[in-house]
């Protein structure tokens, strides 16, 4: 039974190694009466069940495909699940994201792993995150050591010397690669935000995004622009662009930017300045990057449709 949050990474190279390390961890949780939960691939879940035998019946399993949808959404799922555990019990979790998507999306998952340290601080939760070192890119494995205070070793947990404080992590990893800016506009008044929404939606449609994701992206960008107008220094500059594997929207203003590098991760902190808007924006994007300066970027993964808009045009419709 853990009194506070434990967050460890396990780098494994074979399924056997994963089972060997994790079956005792899970079995111990069952024996202690913990609320035990596993979210991983079907193959890994199958192997764990087999090793656990009857103990597996006391464990909730979720398929990583449906559990790890979007980072902020998944964090909220974990929060709700942990809050729902029976009174007086601890929670014990094996959680293995799919690490799919663009490099920018994997970076958001790394920020998610880092934000977990703050989100569950003081919560009796023991979470182990296995990483398949035989398949995942080096950058993901490096980030694992920067986002987990401890690593699971052959002789038990050991401190991760590469760990980076969560508040410093987003700046340490920066934001990825070049984006071709295709659409740019300046917004000075809230009355113009409906034009921004329509422009984002149109742009996303041309890029091949499905209707539901368009609506979510439009809402995310609307909230960022609305925050810039109300809490930054207008006008807000909205830029839409494409990279090879994603659509990017950036909103910037002339103010000093968002002070909290973890903004948007924790609904409980939503009371802060512009807090709920950022919660929504992060929830509805595959990634959200704060800074540099007073700029915020969201992206959604997509393979841009061939011939997607090649020239820069203005967002606001000239209907004064």
């Amino acid at each position: 039974m853990s009194a506070s949050f434990e967050h460890r990474a396990l780098l494994y190279v074979s399924r056997e190694e994963l089972v060997e390390a994790m079956a005792p961890f899970l079995r111990e949780g069952v024996a202690d009466g913990d609320a035990v939960f596993v979210a991983t691939t079907r193959a890994n879940a199958g192997a764990l069940r087999e090793a656990l035998g009857v103990d597996a019946r006391a464990i909730d399993f979720a398929d990583a495909e449906t559990w790890y949808t979007r980072p902020a959404e998944t964090l909220d799922r974990y929060r709700r699940r942990v809050e729902r555990r029976p009174a007086g019990t601890s929670a014990r979790v094996l959680g293995e994201p799919t690490w799919r998507g663009s490099q920018a999306t994997r970076l958001e998952w790394a920020r998610y792993e880092s934000a977990l340290n703050v989100a569950f601080q003081g919560t009796p939760l023991s979470l182990v995150c296995p990483y398949d070192a035989s398949a995942l890119p080096d950058s993901v494995l490096e980030h694992a050591q920067a986002t987990h205070p401890e690593l699971v070793g052959p002789d038990g947990p050991q401190r991760s010397h590469a760990f980076v404080e969560p508040a410093a992590f987003p700046a340490a990893v920066g934001r990825p690669g070049d984006v071709r800016v295709l659409l740019e506009s300046s917004v000075a008044d809230a009355d113009e935000l409906d034009d921004v929404r329509r422009a984002v939606s149109r742009f996303a449609a041309e890029a091949g995004l499905a209707p539901a994701r368009r609506a979510e992206l439009a809402l995310a960008v609307h909230e960022l622009a609305s925050n810039a107008l109300r809490h930054g220094r207008p006008p807000a500059r909205v830029r839409l662009g494409l990279a090879d594997d994603r659509l990017v929207c950036e909103v910037a203003d002339g103010g000093s930017g968002i002070a909290d590098p973890l903004a948007g991760w924790l609904p409980r902190n939503g009371g802060g300045v512009g807090g709920w808007g950022l919660v929504l924006a992060r929830r509805f994007a595959d990634g959200l990057e704060i800074g540099p300066g007073a700029s915020v970027r969201v992206h959604v993964d997509c393979v841009p449709a061939a011939g997607a808009r090649a020239q820069t045009t203005s967002i606001a419709s000239p209907n004064e």
Binding site: R80, E223, G270
Partner: protein, 279 residues
């Protein structure tokens, strides 16, 4: 202009007096054919009598028979010098009742309401009052045409007033981003609710809630709601509990993201549960 084709609670924006008179007379003519008691309200109704006569109204006879009443805007809306929304809603309900007891099939009102938008005590409460009138029109045999002079009215106010009428007859004011009207068993909120109109929507819902009690609000036509919009719905529910019908998948996800799914006063109906929330 075919104001007569529309029943219920209708708004009209006009640009000429002639346009206004024709629409109002047309609306009352339809009421006459339905056997309703008629009420004609204008800033200076005496000047409109010729138009009524031309519309086959035997004004003097009708007035004597109690079939038609003609009143000035001041008489109809500003008794005692101020506009009292609660008193007006009660009065209309009583007038409908009176019409029924006198053997009419209902009450039909055509009113030029422009002066109300210019009146300091009415301006702030009028839209909410109009929504309550809309509600009344769904429950009682009551039809009303509210006419507004587009040339004299604040366009923002006009757009807002328009937003709470189910039907629009003529004119084309700059539309409000949202529309809110009453059906027999629910309010219908359509369009877009964002920070620019969230406060207004909250006030309107809260004021309608005073009449309706537990309030089902159909949002299946709500194309967009931002944080401010969602918070407005939540805030309105503190006056009267709200059930939201027909929420879109995006609205549902935003609702959960803002931690609204545990609230006591406001709930999403289960309809349109589009699978897959894994929690």
């Amino acid at each position: 202009m075919e104001g007569g084709a529309l029943r219920g609670h209708v708004s009209l924006t006009y640009r000429t007096e002639d346009e206004r008179r024709r629409a109002m007379v047309g609306f009352l003519t339809a009421g006459l054919e339905r056997g309703e008691r008629l009420l004609y309200v204008a800033a200076d109704p005496d000047r409109d009598l010729r138009a009524l006569e031309a519309g086959a109204f035997r004004v003097a006879d009708f007035v004597r028979e109690g079939r038609l009443a003609v009143a000035s805007t001041a008489e109809a809306y500003f008794r005692g010098g101020a506009f009292d929304a609660d008193a007006r809603v009660r009065a209309f309900a009583e007038e409908v009742d009176g019409a029924m007891r006198a053997g009419f099939s209902g009450l039909c009102i055509a009113a030029d309401a422009t002066a109300i938008l210019e009146h300091p005590t009415a301006r702030d409460t009028w839209t909410a009052y109009e929504l309550r009138a809309d509600l009344l029109a769904t429950r009682l045999p009551f039809a009303a045409l509210c006419a507004y002079d587009e040339r004299r009215s604040d366009p923002r106010l006009l757009a807002e007033v328009d937003a709470v009428h189910r039907h629009r007859s003529g004119g084309s004011p700059k539309a409000a981003p949202f529309r809110l009207h009453a059906e027999a068993d629910r309010l219908v909120l359509e369009g877009e609710v964002d920070l620019t109109c969230a406060d207004r929507v909250r006030e309107l819902l809260a004021s309608a809630g005073r009449d309706l009690g537990r309030l089902p609000v159909d949002i299946s036509g709500l194309a967009f709601a931002d944080v401010a919009g969602i918070r407005a719905l939540v805030a309105a529910s503190r006056q009267a509990p709200v059930q939201l019908l027909g929420a879109s998948p995006t609205f549902r996800r935003a609702w959960a993201a803002l931690d609204c799914d545990g609230l006591d006063t406001i709930r999403l109906a289960d309809r349109e549960a589009s699978g897959g929330e894994a929690t």
